[in-house]
Amino acid sequence: MVRVEELIENEEKRVLVLGNEAIARGAIEAGVQVFAAYPGTPSSEISMALIAAAPELGFYAEWSTNEKVSMEVAYAASISGVRSMIACKHVGLNVAADVFYSALYMGCKGGFVTVVGDDPHCFSSQNEQDSRWLGVSANFPILEPSSPQEAKEFTKMAFEISEKFEIPMLLRTTTRISHARADVQFNKFETTYRDGELEKSPRFKCLPGIARANHPKLLEKNETIKEWIPESGLTRIEGPEDNQFGIITSGISYSYVKDALLMLNADIPILKLGIVSPLDEKSILKFAKSKENIIFIEEVDPYLEDRISALLVQNGITPKIHGKCNGITKRYHELNAYLVAKGLESLFGSKIADFKDIEVAVTKTEEYIPFRPPLFCAGCQHRAAFYELSKVVKKNDGIFASDIGCYSLDPWVSDTIVCMGASIGMASGFSRVIKDKPIFAIIGDSTFFHTGLPALANAVYNKANFNLLILDNRMTAMTGFQPNPTEDIPIENVAKGLGVEYIVEFDPYDFEKGKKTIEEALKHKGPTVIIMRKICANEWWRRTRRKGEKIEVYHTDPEICIACGTCIVRYQCPAISWSIDTNSKGKQYTVIDSSTCTGCSVCSQICPTGAISKVE
């Protein structure tokens, strides 16, 4: 991460930053005054940077409880005349959708920018949603940068466009822009933070009569923006003028096209769209008119392809269309320069290397290469909790609705993972139709405050019979250890306030107590709430080491260990491995890596022979 001092330094200079940090800098240069966000990969670094910068520069930034709330906070600031922004991941935009569908009708005052990070290839996500569709269906103007530098410049422009046309703006990035690191030119900026003022007007009430009047106005604004795009510099045409081929692209795909054309040694005209809604119709039609073949290169969905193909037909222009429709690129997963070049080679009659030898070697080695899935960290309190739970859940043949967070990594009991907060609603639903098995829901503290609250109120109100386990690790760990309301609002108070009658709490490292507590809870009619509270082991470990404090680690006695595999095969703590040597009986034993063991003690509790103990 770039240091805050460097991020906020008011100088002209080149700085090595992530695409996300470039967006944060863009917002700072634009004078953002209110920022609110809920974390989510690949967007989180934008928020971490701005939340760190806010107290230094004197603007307001917060971690909100969810994306909808963050957008409301920022929107209110905007209609009070102040520049504001939110950042979220693609699925977070769905959570905020209820706000922006109406906000767009009503328009804004101070520049209002929503940054959404899409995740083609599902590096850290549950789907490959292409947020351009959601944006365009709400009539958001959408900017798509192609590099970290452009990400910064487009952020600044988004504020300007938003203010100029009084319209909320969407800036769409993808993982490869957000998590690309490059040297980015920073510019000087002027900050004149001021108090907001709400100019009272019926415009900001989305009542039917007003909404009916606002809708055509919104469409008009989009028309005006459309006419303005050619002079904005957001559309760029590159390459030779006359050629039977033309490539239309945007965002990260533009960079793949550039490298692919180098690979193919081809000089083909490119129309690069910086704004993908509304469409820059004038430039597109002019570009396509003289071409026999139009090629669309974009990741995941054929968004440009479908919309622009329709536009061409409406204008009587009929080039041959290439893209997703004829398999030039796939409709899933990410692209790269080679995939694009491969897709194009037959069209251009060129030929690029096809690495057959590598493919052969890959097939020959595949069988050996060990799978290395992401795992709970050494000492993770979730691992302990799930191990206890797995004993109870399996014995009772329970149904287990899980949720989204580090605990999604559970290898033992989870039956469903849908979206944030879904565990509670799903368990409520299961409890209506599955009567002979205990039903469980499990949720983390951050997810509980994100969307778990209304679901729990629903469960209490409708008397759903299930056991809700809340994993309170004191933070939002999965996305980078962000703080959340669990710091100040005790979850047991919330549950009690909502009317939950049976509430218990325990430390998941206390193995026997944990099992008993869960067994006991099963005897009560639900919804019951079982809070498993322990700070995230990884963050605790890092803090302890930073403070220079000693961590009391565990070790195995090679002579007592019978190599049963309980700690290593079943519990799967990553700090434990098999010895290379053998003990005096000629048997291998387990070895604990003292540089990663966090001293949680669970392995020593579950070892049937008492071979594991604290290093004295």
């Binding site: 490869r176 690191r181 490059a182 990260i252 960079s255």
Partner: protein
């Protein structure tokens, strides 16, 4: 694409890949070259396998390096080196640590670790590549900082013939990037990496 130097750095989450790609990027930037890297953040970081793509040059476009297109592969863990071999261009250079970190899938098999090196070597030889193995674990301990295996490899890669950055450039970037109380041990690790590479050459 000859204008740019392309390399992939691979290993297991937490091994310090981002630190060395950072140091390379800092050195390149100081020299007035452009850098573009693509990193893995989020879920995959948790003990999973990670790959960073790094490009250095004058004009750079896409942040990722496709299969068969990387000039060099730097591996901090031998299984991961093998996993990502496909990214190496035919005949490319591999510098890999001999370190082997237990994937969870091995835990059922007590012999897996015992046979690991043999199996990995056998499989690595199926690729068309020049492979240099460095005992980074041993050298890092020798330098007095077990965690500095990544820096040992940084030293090693400074010796790559057509690498666009010099030993001095990398070393001064290293000094700006690591905590001041660890500069000395890191420089030692860096130098041991250089020596090891010279011997291997």
């Amino acid at each position: 694409m000859e204008e740019e130097y392309r390399m992939v750095l691979v290993g297991v989450g937490g091994q310090g890949i981002l630190t060395i790609s950072d140091i390379i990027a800092i050195a390149a930037q100081k020299k007035g070259l452009r850098v573009l890297s693509s990193e893995v953040h989020g879920m995959a970081q948790k003990g999973g396998s990670v790959i960073t793509n790094l490009k250095i040059g004058k004009e750079l476009h896409s942040p990722t390096i496709p299969v068969g297109c990387s000039k060099a592969l730097i591996g901090l863990e031998e299984n991961e080196t093998l996993r990502y071999m496909k990214y190496l261009e035919p005949g490319g250079l591999v510098i890999t640590s001999k370190t082997v970190l237990y994937p969870v899938t091995w835990k059922k098999d007590k012999n897996a670790a015992v046979l690991a090196h043999e199996k990995i070597d056998e499989n690595l030889s199926k690729f068309d590549a020049r492979i240099i193995r460095i005992n980074a674990e041993k050298l890092a301990s020798e330098a007095g900082l077990a965690l500095a295996q990544n820096i040992v490899l940084l030293g090693a890669l400074s010796q790559i013939k057509d690498f666009p950055l010099s030993v001095e450039e990398l070393k001064s970037a290293l000094k700006t990037r690591v905590p001041s109380k660890y500069i000395e041990t890191n420089v030692k690790a860096f130098e041991l990496g250089i020596e090891a590479m010279k011997k291997a050459n």
